[in-house]
Every structure is written in C-alpha cells, then in structure tokens.
C-alpha cells in the first residue's frame, strides 16, 4: 500500500505544482509563459515518444502540432458559426484526432524504415506540408494565418475562457492528463516493445512482432499528443499560422527534448520548461539569442548527450551514496575556468553582434555586464577573447581532474555495491 502511495507522490506533487504556479507567478507575462510551457511540455514529450523511446529521429514533428492546431482553430470557427453546444475543453481532443489522422497517413509512408531514411522522409514530409501551406490558402490562411475567438464558444460550466488564467488551468489540466497518459504508455508492454525496436529491431522480429507496425503505432500516438499540444496552443494564442508547422518549430522541439535529455521520461519536460523560458527572456536581452541556442545545442551534443536530466541523475546517484564531497574539489577547480570561458564567449558574441549587425544603425557603444564599452575599439575585444582563451585553456588543463574524481567515485561505489 505504501509503495503504491510512494509511486503516486510525484504525480500529486506535479498536480500541486500546476495548481500553485499561477498563484505565485501571477503577472500577465508569467501566465502566458507558463501556458506556453504547458503546451510545449506535451509537444516535447510526444516528440520523445519517437526519439527517446522508439529511436526515431524526426525532423518534421511540428507538422502534427501545426495541423492539429489548424484543425482545432477551424473547428472552433465552425462551432461559433453554427452555434453548436461544444465548449473549449473538448477542442484539444479534436486537434489530437486530427494529428492522429495525419500521423497515420504520413506514418504509413515514413515508418517503413527506421534510422536515417526515416529522418529524411520526416524532413521531406515536413517541407511538403509547410510549402503546401502557401498553396492551400483557405485552410492555412496564407501569410497572416487563421484567427479565432475562444470566448465565443459555448461556456463550460459557466467558464468562457476569456481570461488567460482560465486558459492556463485548461492547459494545465490537459497537460497533466497527457503527461500521465504518456507515462502510463511507457509502462505498458507496447512501451517496452518500442524500446526493443529502438535497441534491436531484428530481435523484435524474432520475438514475433513487426517493428514496422510498432513504429507506426508509436508514430500515431506521438502525432496524437502533438495535435493536442497544437490545439492547446491555438486556444491560448487564438491564432495559427504556417510557421507553427515549419522547420523552425520542428527544430525547437528537437532542441527541447535533447537539452532536457532523451534518455529519461522527465527530460523533455525539463527541456521544454528551460527552452521556453530562455526563448522568452533571452530574446529580450540579446538579439543573437538564436546563435546561443545553436551553440547550446552543439555543446549538449558534444559534452552532455544525456541532457540536463541525465546529468542531474548521474550526480543524484553519487549524492545519495554520500560520495559527493569527493567530486567537489575537482568541480571547484574547473568551475571558475568554465565561468571565465563562458563570460568570454558571451562577451565576444555580443561585441561581434554589436559591431557587425547593429553598429550602423545604433552605434557601437553598448553596455556589457554593467560596463559601458565601445565595440569599435580594440580593448573590449582583447579582454573578451583573452578571457575566453584563458578560461578555455584552464578547462582543458583541469578537466582531467574531474575525470579522475569520477573514476575514483565510480570505483568506490562499485566496490561498496559489490561488497
């Protein structure tokens, strides 16, 4: 009984977090951000059903997000037009079913093969849909997109979803339900077979399953949840345009899943929260924020392929066994160098951005870490590049210590668990 209660605890905590968040972060921008996070959590988790769990790297997942959103928004307009007794909370289901229908259709073509061919087909299908959005104008609404007014639908127990707070709770409820459903799916035999398809499709065939059918089913589920996310996005913003199903959106969801960590169920959730937060705040601070995203992604691929959650898990394991202090000295040595390199890199990028992209229109004077500098003079550059080189060589020099510390810790933990 207590074990069952223990496994319920994280879910209660999640529900509580969803309920409490708008009470703490109650400003309008925070509410919009948390709503978007909810949408992106569903989207990123649906993506990880493919990438993390079934081993299918898709470059066109936004297609199902976007199509779900478009069908949802057209449904809403049709409901308003013919005054049907349908209220907002049912709309995400419509979006999900639309995603499922298109997922089944495109999945039939693309899941015949896994690996790189699947990736390429998903890319091709993504381009196919996003370039046909400029042809089928009455459905996709051309450049300006399709708009709706969510408050005009039938009320749901008195709620008209006019305010962003009501929308937040709607998104939170759907998000909670979808997270739970997707988690439950990973625990079913089907979820396990998806993992098997990722690891070794040949053996799956010997066991008597068809990898192709399993891939197709996983693809359909992923498309369904992406469609739900798209519909929630459409409800939240009351507009859908072709950008929502284009390659940028597809790259964004890949970034979220990967930064968070594709190896664990919680990874994409964390990734969606981090990336959405950065996307909104970073774009206010610097207009080179997309470059930072790209560099962050490359950094993650090179140095942290398990993502944030993978990294945390690795350390949590050590902390639980009481060996964290063995890592601390090595980390304390590397951290200043790492910070130095980071500051140097950010300074260089910001200086380059100011001098190359904005100097003509806004002048070369700028504020950098609280200091007034002129990007057209040499000194800031020397300092920036100097800091970076100093930090980077420091990291290079000191990194072996971290490796040693880890080797030491791992060896001790193994001895202890062996004894």
């Amino acid at each position: 009984m207590s074990a069952r209660l223990g496994s319920l605890m994280p879910w209660l905590a999640l529900a509580l977090l969803f309920i409490v968040t708008p009470q703490i972060l109650s400003s309008a921008t925070a509410l919009t951000m948390t709503s978007l996070m909810g949408v992106m959590i569903i989207f990123a988790l649906s993506y990880n059903m493919l990438l993390g769990q079934t081993g299918l790297l898709s470059f066109g997942h936004a297609v199902y997000f976007g199509l779900g959103g478009f069908v949802a928004i057209h449904t809403m307009n049709a409901v308003i037009h013919s005054k049907l007794p349908v209220s907002i909370p049912m709309i995400p289901l419509v979006g999900g079913l639309a995603g499922l229908a298109f997922g089944a259709l495109f999945g039939l073509v693309s899941t015949r093969r896994a690996g790189i061919v699947f990736s390429m087909i998903s890319l091709g299908l993504g381009e196919l849909v996003s370039s046909s959005s400029f042809i089928l104008r009455s459905f996709f609404g051309g450049e300006e997109g399709v708009t709706t007014n969510r408050a005009k639908l039938a009320p749901f127990f008195g709620h008209r979803f006019g305010s962003q707070l009501e929308v937040y709770y709607l998104i939170a409820a759907w998000c909670f339900f979808c997270v739970a459903a997707m988690y439950a799916l990973t625990q079913t035999p089907f979820g396990r077979m998806c993992n098997a398809v990722r690891e070794n499709p040949e053996r799956v065939e010997f066991v008597g399953y068809s990898p192709r059918v399993l891939r197709l089913i996983a693809f359909c589920f992923a498309a369904f949840f992406a469609g739900v996310a798209g519909a929630l996005g459409a409800i939240s913003f009351e507009i859908m345009n072709a950008q929502q199903l284009g390659s940028q959106q597809s790259s964004l969801v890949l970034l979220m899943a990967y930064i968070g960590g594709v190896g664990s169920f919680a990874g994409p959730i964390v990734g969606a929260v981090i990336i959405t937060f950065l996307q909104i705040t970073l774009s206010d601070v610097t207009n080179a924020w997309q470059l930072y995203f790209g560099l962050m992604f490359i950094g993650a691929v090179l140095y942290a392929p398990d993502g944030v959650v993978g990294w945390l898990r690795m350390h949590l394991r050590v902390v639980r066994r009481g060996a964290a202090w063995r890592l601390a000295p090595a980390y304390a040595l590397v951290a200043p160098a790492l910070a130095l390199a980071g500051v140097g890199a950010i300074m260089t990028i910001e200086l380059a951005n100011r001098q190359l992209a904005q100097a003509r229109s806004e002048g070369s004077a700028m504020r950098l870490f609280g200091l007034d500098v002129d990007a057209s003079t040499a000194w800031p550059w020397i300092v920036a590049v100097g800091l970076f080189v100093l930090g980077a060589s420091g990291v290079r020099l000191l990194w072996p210590r971290v490796g040693e510390a880890w080797g030491d810790v791992n060896a001790r933990l193994q001895i202890r668990s062996g004894a």
């Binding site: 790189i116 390429m120 042809i135 790259s251 990967y258 997309q290 380059a352």
Partner: protein, 311 residues
Amino acid sequence: MLQLITFSALNGVLYGMLLFMMASGLTLIFSMMGVLNFAHASFYMLGAYFGFEISRRIGFWPGLVLAPLLVGAVGALVERYGLRRVHRLGHVSELLFTFGLAFVIEEMVQMVWGKLPVDYRGPPSLDFVAFRLFDTTYPAYRMFMLSVAVAMFVVLLALLTRTRVGLIIQAALTHPDMVAMLGHNVPRIFMLVFGAGAALAGLAGVIAGPALVTQPAMATLLGPILFVVIVVGGLGSLTGAFVASLLIGLLQTFAVAMNFSLAEVFGPTAPPFLDDLWRVTIAQLAPVMPYILLVLVLIVRPTGLMGTRES
C-alpha cells in the same frame, strides 16, 4: 513551344548539375562515414558569401578559386575537431551535431552579412548574351555556370575512377573496414573527403550566388532538396544521386514554366472544398514537387532509384 523546351531543358540541366555538385559530396560523405551532413547546404551558402566578400575586394576570378578552398578548409576543420569527437557517440549524435552546426552557421552569416540579400554579381567580362533563340536570350554567365559544373563533373569522375585516391574512396564506399585493414589511414581519408565535399559545395555556392540570390536563407531553402536528391537516388549511390539531381532539376524548371491549373482543364467551377486546388497552377506546385517525388519513389521503391544499402 520549342524555345520554352530548349530554355527549360538548359536551365533544368544547369540546376540539376548544381544540385549534383552538392549531392555528390553529401552522398560520398554519407557512404564513407555514415554521416548525413546537415550542414552541407551551409557550406554552399558559405561559398557564396566568401565569394561575395572576395569579389568585392579583389574580383570574381580569385574568388572562384579561393572561396572553395576556404570552405574546404572550414569543412576539414569541422571534421577534425567536431565530427571526429562525436563519432564515438554514434550516428544520431553526428547527425545532430551537423544539424546544430547548420543552425549556427546561418546565425553567424546573418550576423556578419545581415539578414537581407547581398549584391553579389558575376564578372563584367561575362555580362553578355550567349545566344538568342527566336526572341529569348540566354546570358553568358549561365553558360559559364553550366561549363564549370560539367567540368567539375568530369574531373570528379576521372578522380574517382582513374586515380589511386579514387580507388581507395570507392573501396571505402562499400567496404570501409577492409580499407582500414589494408593499412590506409581512414580518418585522414574521411577528413579529405569531407573537406573536398565542402569545397565542392562551396564552389557551387560561388558560381550560383550571382545567378540566384545570396541570402542567409539559401541553405535552409536548398538543404531539404539535397536530402531529397540523395534519398530518391538511393543512399550511397553516386550514379543515383546524378540521375536524381537531373530529374529534380528538370522537374522543377519545367514545372515553373507551366501555367496550367485544374480550372483551365475542367472549367472554373470547382467541386466543394477543392477551391484552392482548382486554382493552383503547376508553376506554383514547383517547390512541392521534389517532396511529392520523394514520397512516390519511397512508396514504389523504398531503397531509392539506384540504392542497394538499407541504411
């Protein structure tokens, strides 16, 4: 009609040859290293921008030689210090690395040269009419592009089939392990091929830049089509890439020249819900065609036109 066919065929072959200049490098890199290089179209873009920068300072002709060499060097560095590190993490990580790289290159190009197209022009010495058919003229620069592309093709073919390096590369295509067993430095061959592929893409950028538009989006616009080419041709097949390049080049150029729509064939009133489809002309469908071709080919022949490899 005859002039339409002639010019469309010329432009189609030209576009196809440009595609092949990039697709050949991409497919060679893929077959040898198993890496699908997402940043390949970015090297094409870098070629165009480097060519622009050099032509602005010392002229078009030095740029024609220097820019591809520069791009090739960038490619070799990317392989040596980036890809080789990710290699141990597997093919998906390599693919993701090049994906991130393409993103970063685009952002950097935007930062350095701005978001608007730059004014990259061909040399004045090629600024004349090559020939005239009926009342349409064909610019000499396009003939020059075509001859560069064909020359490149011949050189590549000779290199691959007639030289020792070519033999090793060909062997590495099908039996990479065996080549390593025979004592060849496979990592160095990889770096060489990666650099050469990047240089080839750079050359395509240098000569295509003035004729098409040199802008930060040019890599994102062309990249997916390149992947279509190598998947339709069959992954790892050079001949397939060649055939698919020409096929897609001709398909797109001929489609652009055609103004038919369903409305013209079946009358202006469309069946319900098909209003948009009824009025779309074939010319408007041109950007979608490669992807339709991709889907059709994969339904009929999942390994691509001439592919034998499964992955």
